[in-house]
Amino acid sequence: MELQQVSYQYPGQAAGVTALSGKFPAGRVTTIIGPNGAGKSTVLNLLARQLVPQQGTVLLNQHPLDRYAPKQLAQRIAVVSQRHALYDDMTVAAVVKMGRLPYHGLLATVPDDEVATYLGQTQLTDLAAEHLQNLSGGQQQRVWLAMALAQEPQVLLLDEPTTYLDVHYQRALMTQLQQLAAAGLTVIQVLHDINQAFAVSDWLWLLQAGRLVTTGTPAQLRDADLLARTFQTPIEIVDVPRLGPYIVQVPEENDRG
């Protein structure tokens, strides 16, 4: 996927993104990072075509997104949102089957065996008949991921996928995303946890106030001055035994007692 001079401003608000250009490498985990209001989620919404750029173009396989019919787009791009609303009770299998709709008619009945792979990939096989409201937050997140995988997408977009997960599920999800990328899926996510972003990503997008500061590998962007300027807070990179470089926020000069 690629952005070409993409701008989007929300009506009556300063937040948005301005003249963003850059590529998201295929078959890699790319994480968009930046301070609050940097436009991270806006970029994700533009990539998902939930927002339409006011200027510029979003490309998928060198074609503008608006060239794709909604179903064609759904066969190529899947989204796992930060929060999912479910207005009535559904079983796990029923939710995952919804992910197969881009490949069927609107009135089709998706057979059970068609989603067995995605349930297996997300360790949900035993929970297929369970009702979503009875699952833990981590299990529910896996259901939404299974639904997205059922779309057999080329690109998987995730908005803060770890926000409501404990440390164990966070690690499990990140490992799974890395495995999916290794299998050829392009993963683009927004993360708040900067160390998690550096640990799991192949490529990073650094945003500030709706503009792209830079892109690069975690090794290229692991620069305390660059991060301090972007996040507008003093940052140091320390070496933690058995963990390696770790980004920490240090107190401001005038905060030190």
Partner: protein, 323 residues
């Protein structure tokens, strides 16, 4: 379908058959099974006329009306994502009633007047209901709906110069074979379409943004189901008048019996709604013989307390938000 749901389907079918048999026999004159069978062979007998010309059209009409109203309620609940949404509580039925009444006064020459004007009334109410923020706010929706209902009931009373209210007037008492055939054709078309579109009601359990990302045309689905629900509700109003609460009581009970999957919920609601309406009408015409209580009054008495209990106990599924 689960085995548990299968038992419920079997149970409601047995109830339907038993109640239909009973409804043929009871009334001002009790016609027992033997007289009933004998009457079928004598088309000029008084029993035949009572059963075939009076009771049978009434039974068929109440079955179609009950099924239509229950399915209309379930469709509205799916679209508005609100367990107490229903064409009667949201003013659709009373708007249809008002337009029907207005049509009788202003356009008495118009062919198919009752159905056409009821449909126009229902669509006007739906248009008012779906403007602004009501779709996004379940409480606002119900309050606007109740206000709409009260307005159209008031207008109907105004036009009819304070005569009988719509609830009292909505009865199967005067239903003819011609009405019944009209209802049967309109109702069955709508009900079969609803059963066919049942998966769409399931889709609307997901948020609009999620549906867009899987390529589902949300607006088309929402409007199709809303128009279908309106069509079913106004078809009933056109022939017998507005009947409240069937669309709330039945789908909410059906969720407890067969679950939340609309592919089971809609057919079960159709059967259970048909049974409830037939039972209410049969009871209404037998408890104070030779007079009778209208089906609408019976449903108001049964349905009102049900809605109060449903809301006060706060039971049922009201959606979840997951991370």
């Amino acid at each position: 379908m689960t085995k548990h749901a299968g038992w419920w389907f079997g149970g409601v079918l047995v109830l339907l058959v038993l109640t239909m048999g009973l409804a043929l026999m009871v009334g001002t004159t009790w016609i027992g099974p033997q007289r009933l069978i004998a009457a079928l062979g004598q088309s000029s007998s008084r029993d035949f006329v009572t059963v075939f010309n009076l009771r049978l059209p009434r039974i068929i009409s109440s079955l179609v009306c009950g099924g239509s109203l229950a399915v209309a309620g379930a469709l509205f609940q799916a679209v508005f994502r609100n367990p107490i949404a229903d064409p009667s509580i949201l003013g659709i039925s009373s708007a249809a009633d008002f337009f029907k009444l207005g049509g009788a006064l202003l356009l008495p020459w118009l062919p198919g007047r009752n159905w056409l004007l009821s449909l126009v009334g229902g669509l006007v109410a739906l248009w008012i209901l779906t403007r602004g923020k009501a779709l996004r706010d379940p409480y606002r929706l119900i309050i606007i709906g109740v206000a709409l209902d009260a307005t159209f009931v008031g207008l109907s009373r105004l036009v009819s110069s304070g005569q009988t209210t719509q609830v009292m007037a909505s009865t199967f008492n005067a239903v003819t074979w011609s009405d019944t055939l009209g209802l049967l054709i309109l109702g069955l078309c709508g009900l079969l379409t609803a059963l066919l579109l049942a998966p769409w009601a399931n889709y609307l359990k997901l948020a609009d943004t999620a549906l867009q990302t899987i390529g589902v045309p949300v607006s088309m689905i929402r409007w199709s189901l809303l128009l279908l629900g309106t069509y079913l509700a106004v078809s009933v109003t056109a022939i017998v008048g507005a009947i409240p609460f069937v669309g709330i009581v039945i789908p909410n009970l059906a969720r407890r019996c067969v679950g939340h999957d609309y592919q089971a919920l809609l057919p079960f609601s159709m059967l259970a709604g048909a049974w409830l309406m037939l039972a209410a009408d049969t009871l209404g015409r037998t408890v104070i013989v030779p007079s009778e209580i209208s089906a609408a009054t019976m449903m108001a008495v049964i349905g009102g307390p049900f809605v109060i209990i449903l809301l006060q106990r706060g039971r049922g599924f009201h959606g979840i938000t997951t991370g």
